[in-house]
Structure formats: C-alpha cells, structure tokens
C-alpha cells in the first residue's frame, strides 16, 4: 500500500484546504514534513487515523473543526470538515473521504455524525463508488485497524510498541500467521460445538449408530445361533438317518429270525414260570410242614385211642349219673330243703331219697362220669384227626402237582434249547431295537425343537434387519459427516503443523532481521532477543554470558525502531505455504511507515542510523520531523527523499504547509 495524497479541509489547525502529496517513487520513497512542536505534525498523523477509522487521538477529539472557522460560524449555520486520503492498494487507487458537519446551536458548536465515502478508479480511469455497507470491509482490506498502529505511530508509541499485550496477535497478522491461526480456530475441535469439526460431531447421530450397531450385533449373534442350529440340525438328521437304518436292520434281523425269537421268548416265559412255580412249591412245602407240626398228635394218636375205647366198651364202666354233677351239689340242694324243681325236700321223703340215691353215681364216689368224659374227648380228637389228614393230604397233592408241572416245563425247556442251540440271541436285537426307537423319538423331538428355534431366529433376524435398515439412512448421513470430519481433522492437523513450522521459522527470521537492523542502528554491542510472545529484550554479554541489559530511553527507542523495521521488512517477504503441488501465499500487504517525531530522545548517531535503515526496509516512509532532528537525518536520508514539506504556524489555530 502506498499513500498518494492527504487532503484536509478545516481539520483542526489546517484552516481551509490543505493538500499533501506523498512520494511513491521506489527509490525516493521518503516524504519529509518538517515542523517544530505544536506546528501540527501530530494532527497530520491523526488525519490519517480519522479518515480511515473515524478516530483521532487528539485532545478534545469531538472538536475537529478549525477554531477560526468555528468562531466565525453563525447561529444555526453549519460547515463541514473533510479529510481525503488517496492510496494505492493492490494496484488499485482508492479515494477515501470522511466528512463531518458542525453546527452552531445556542452558541455551541456541535459535531454531527461523520460520514465516509470510498471510491476507486477502474483501469479505464472511471471512478466507481463503493456501497456504504461495504466501506468498512474495504478499509479493513486495505489496512486492518488493529495493525494500523504499527504503521501510524507517534513518539510515544514508538517507545511502547514492543511492550504491547496484543503484540503476538499483531505480529501473527503482519507476518501472515493469522490466516493459519484463524483457520485452526474455525476448524476447531470435537469439543467446541461452535467450530466446524465440533458441528460435524454434533450433527452425527451417535445414538442412531449405537442402535444400528446393536441391531447389527443382534443380527450377527442370531445368525451365529442359526448357524449353530443348522449344524445341530445336520447332526440330528444324520443321527436320525443312522438310527433309521439301524432300525431297519434290526427289524429285518428280527423278521428273519421270527421262529427263533418266538422260541426264545417262549423259553424265557417258561423259565419265568419255573421260577415262580418253584417259589410256590417251596411255599406249599413250608405250609405242609407247619400243618404237620401243629396238628399231628390227634392223627397219630388215633390207633391208641381206638384201643382204649374198645377196652372201656368191654369193661362197661359207664354209669347213668348226670354229667358234671357232684355230691356236694346234691348235698347243698338237700340242705336248702327245696329242689330246683320247686318240690319241698323233707328228710325221709321220696324226693330226698332219690337225691341220695343219685349220689352214688356222681363224683367223687363214681368213675363212670370220668370215663364218659374221656370217651367224649376221644371222639373230639377223632374228628380233628380227619380234618388234619385231609389238610395234609390236600397240601401234599398240591406239592405233587407243582413238582410235576416244574418237571414238565424243564422238559420243554430242554426241547427248546435243543432247537435254538447255535442261533443268535434275538433278545439283544430286540433290546437294541427298543433303544433305537427311543433314540429316534428323542432325536425327532430335538429336530422339531431346533426347526422351531431356527424359525424363531429367522424371524428375529428379519425384525432386527428392519430396525437396521431404518437406521441405515442415519448411518449413511453419519458416513458423510465422518468423511467431512476426516478431511477437516486432516486439514486442521496440517494447519497446526504448518503453523508451528512457520511460526518458529518466522520468529527466528524476525529475530535475525531485527538484530541485523539493530546492529545498523545501534553503535554498541548488544543483541535483541524475541521470545515466544514476541516480547523484545536487549541482551548484553558479560563474562561470556548473555544477560538482559538495562535500557535507556534512547536505547529503548532504537530497539523499537529495529523491531518495527524488522516487522515491516519481514512483512514484505513472501510467506509461502505448500498445499500439495500448489503454493499458497500467506504474505500480507507491504505497508508504509507514517511516523510522528520519530527521533525524539534519540542521539545524533542513532538518528543517522535509523534514517539510513528505514527507507531500506519500508515500502514508503512518511515522517513528520522536527528541524533539529532533521539535521542529523538529512545527510543519510536526503537521497531517498522524494518530497519535502515545511509546516508554518501562522497562529495557534492556523498552520500552513509549504512544499520545497
């Protein structure tokens, strides 16, 4: 950027119209405006600020109207102030005109809102106005306000410029790092939802993906289960086939050996009957012995009893006494005096005599009753003897029949064994057949169960697939965002790496450049150090060690000039970033230096040195210098001066500019 002209109308002490042209020559790139204190040098500097940014860092900034003009303004009358800057930026000439109306009301001068117009010249020479809404944008494009303080500065700011808190940010802007830095900030991080990457992550439907993942997992799990079921089914079917075949074989064997099987079966039945019959036989035998042991006496005593009966019959000892009647019983009846029939018993009566006669037939005097009782016992034993005989006879007959039956069956078993001797045991096959049939029932049941489970799983898969399909749309959307994220993160990582690389490189270059300039400006042995925050420190070497040195006002000024000159010089350089095969120019626009009383507090040698360096590093130098300082600067700078003006102060309210 180069300033072509500055034109002022009634701006502070510049009464009427004042126009300054600046040298834009590459070799003679210096414009000098000489003026002593209070002549209006600072006003010239602030005229640039006011025109570009609407701010003038002057005392009483609300009153920019020339006091002479203001004092002559009539009540309710108004007049305008105007500052117009013509500059060339990126090969285009811009005209920036800021005006402000001042009005006198009730004896007071009031400034209304200033306005600005910006136009530019087309290549064909036609002038085009820029829309009001775009003016601020255009001015920022030409020279951003926050960077302007590095190019428009007065004595005071030269002294403090390297101590600014926003120095690092400004240096980044000047040296092209802000482009990378802002890109990194805008791309951002996953955590910051206001950034590009943060927004991508926020737009992702993680929940949808989780559900899709869950559905997919279920599909996969269920499919795995179906595969297991399929394997199990194959095994079951194979086993069923195996047992079906075996069943057919067994059926065939048993069919072919039906007679043998029947005989074997019959043999087994008979063997069972024999076992049972032998048990019954044993039972009968035990009962026979028991009966015999219990009742054999009457049976075996019968012959003896017959002999005794015959003997008693022959001896005729039977009497006619009443059975079981005894002599004491009859005496008792006589003593009672009345018979049991009611007849009175009197001594010597016939009834008493009959009773006494009966006494001869009853015990203890008679044996007849005893014999009679003995005979009755013998008859009773005789009756039991018949019953016992019949019982034993019956059991014996049963025992006999049982033995006969066992014998018959054993004979039959021998016959069957002779027939089936050498034949296979069909029972084994029959048992196996039963086992095979049971296995087939179990396997078929298992097969049915597996088929049912497989159908359920198949249905589950279809259901999960529907869920998954419904989420595929979400997943597809997520896929796009993931692609964006991948690119965005790749670019951000590249930007961070590039930034680090460039920042380190640029800081080193800046330090080198500033030191180079400082060496040209400073007539001593000190070195400039620039830290990561671009804070500038002067170092001096004591006993082979570098330590921070104290700074006088003059030394501080030289240091800051060196720093500014280094910045300006570096800003002119191309800063290239490689983007694949392409190169991207990160460089900022070269800017002019507009300086108000830059040599205050500097000694003659430093003035001379600074004056030599500045035209070399800056695109354009516009300096408002006191005549006393110019004496030291002129010898080294005069060859670079393209235009020179002198300020004349006609009054406190009126300065004029005269070109040389």
């Amino acid at each position: 950027m180069l300033f072509k002209t500055l034109q002022m109308v009634n701006f502070r002490q510049y009464k009427g119209e004042t126009k300054i042209a600046f040298s834009c020559d590459e070799e003679k790139n210096v414009t000098i405006i000489l003026g002593d204190n209070t002549f209006g040098k600072t006003t010239l500097l602030q005229a640039f600020n006011w025109c570009l940014y609407g701010e003038a860092l002057l005392e009483n900034p609300d009153m920019l109207l020339n006091f002479d003009v203001a004092s002559k303004l009539l009540e309710n009358a108004s007049t305008d102030i105007e500052v117009e800057v013509t500059l060339i930026h990126s090969g285009i000439e811009y005209i920036l005109t800021r005006t402000q109306k001042y009005q006198k009301k009730n004896g007071k001068i009031i400034g209304l809102n200033p306005s600005i117009k910006v136009s530019y010249k087309e290549k064909d020479g036609q002038t085009e106005s820029i829309k009001d809404t775009k003016i601020e944008t255009v001015i920022n494009t030409i020279l951003p306000k926050d960077l302007s303080t590095y190019f428009f500065f007065d004595t005071e700011r030269v002294g403090t410029i390297s101590d600014r808190k926003d120095l690092a940010e400004s240096v980044k802007g000047l040296l092209g790092l802000s482009t990378l830095d802002n890109s990194i900030k805008h791309l951002g991080t996953k955590q910051n939802k206001k950034t590009v990457i943060g927004q991508y992550y926020s737009s992702m439907d993680i929940d949808g993906d989780s559900k899709a993942k869950e559905a997919l997992n279920r599909i996969q799990d269920t499919q795995t289960r179906r595969e297991v079921i399929s394997t199990q089914l194959d095994t079951v079917v194979s086993e069923i086939n195996h047992y079906e075949n075996r069943k057919e074989q067994l059926d065939s064997i048993l069919r072919d050996n039906q007679t043998t099987a029947a005989l074997q079966k019959k043999k087994e039945n008979i063997e069972g009957l024999v076992v049972k019959e032998l048990a019954a036989q044993e039972e009968t035998r035990r009962a026979l012995i028991a009966d015999f042991n219990a009742d054999s006496l009457p049976f075996y005593s019968q012959p003896l009893l017959k002999q005794a009966s015959d003997f008693l019959h022959e001896v005729k000892v039977d009497d006619k006494g009443i059975k079981d009647l005894t002599r004491p019983t009859l005496l008792d009846i006589i003593n009672r005096g009345r018979c049991i029939c009611g007849c009175e018993l009197l001594e010597g009566s016939e009834a008493v005599n009959n009773i006494k006669n009966e006494m001869s037939f009853v015990p203890p005097e008679s044996i007849g009753n005893t014999v009679r009782n003995y005979r009755e016992n013998m008859r009773s034993l005789g009756r039991n003897s018949d019953r016992i005989f019949n019982g034993i006879k019956t059991r014996y007959e049963e025992l006999y029949r049982q033995k006969v039956r066992v014998q018959d069956w054993n004979d039959e078993l021998i016959d069957i064994s002779d027939i089936i001797q050498g034949k296979e045991n069909m029972k084994r096959f029959e048992t196996e057949l039963i086992d095979v049939k049971q296995r087939l029932r179990d396997l078929n049941a298992k097969k049915e169960r597996l088929i049912r489970e497989d159908e359920v799983k198949k249905s589950d898969i279809e259901r999960y697939q529907k869920v998954y399909d419904s989420l595929v749309v979400v997943s597809s959307r997520n896929k796009n965002f993931m692609t964006y994220i991948k690119y965005a993160e790749e670019i951000r990582d590249w930007l961070i790496a590039t930034y680090k690389e460039k920042e380190t490189c640029i800081r080193e270059e800046l330090e080198e450049k500033v030191n180079s300039i400082f060496e040209q400006m400073y007539h001593g042995h000190r070195r400039v150090s620039i830290d990561s925050k671009y804070q500038v420190t002067l170092l001096t070497t004591i006993a082979d060690k570098e330590v921070a040195s104290g700074e006088s006002e003059g030394l501080n000024r030289v240091k800051n000039f060196a720093f500014i000159a280094g910045l300006v010089a570096l800003a002119k350089n191309k800063i290239i970033s490689k983007t694949g095969e392409n190169e991207f120019d990160l460089s900022s626009e070269p800017y002019p230096l507009v300086m108000d009383a830059p040599f205050s507090n500097a000694d003659e040698i430093h003035i001379s040195n600074i004056s030599r360096v500045l035209p070399e590093v800056a695109e354009q130098v516009i300096m408002f210098v006191m005549k006393k300082d110019w004496r030291y600067a002129e010898p080294v700078m005069s060859t670079r001066v393209g235009l020179k003006y002198t300020l004349n102060k006609l009054s406190e309210q009126h300065s004029v500019l005269k070109g040389e």
């Binding site: 944008t137 920022n140 030409i142 890109s183 805008h186 590009v196 993906d209 896929k479």
Partner: protein, 69 residues
C-alpha cells in the same frame, strides 16, 4: 481415536478402512487452498463473523467432498 472413527473401524458404518485412510489428496489440497483464501480474505476485510466463517469452511469441505473429479 475419535468415537466415530472407532465405530467406522468396527464396521458400523459402511466406510471401509481404505476409504478412511486414503483421503483424496486433490480434494484435500483444494480444501486447504480454499480455506486459506477465505481466511486471508476475511482477515483483511473482517467482514464475516466467526459463525459465518465456520459455515464458509463447512461449505468448502462439503462441496469438495461431493465433487467428482
């Protein structure tokens, strides 16, 4: 590794590892250039707010991803 990329690796999405790892260099470089251009332009003009710049970069990335070369 970001969650989403883990999901991608696990195959929840249909982007293959090849797609993940092999971004299109041409597209990538074009995005870098376009982003730096708008950033540089806005650094000069300060015309666009933070949110607008975020949207601008988003548009650059989305447009470039969807371009067919």
């Amino acid at each position: 590794m970001p969650i989403i990329l883990q999901l991608m690796k696990k195959g929840v999405t249909k982007m293959s590892d090849t797609e993940l790892n092999d971004l299109n260099d041409k597209k990538l470089n074009q995005m870098k250039v376009d982003i730096l251009k708008v950033e540089q332009q806005n650094l000069k003009t300060r015309e666009k707010s933070y949110d607008v710049m975020v949207e601008e970069i988003n548009k650059i990335i989305v447009a470039e991803v969807n371009k067919s070369y």
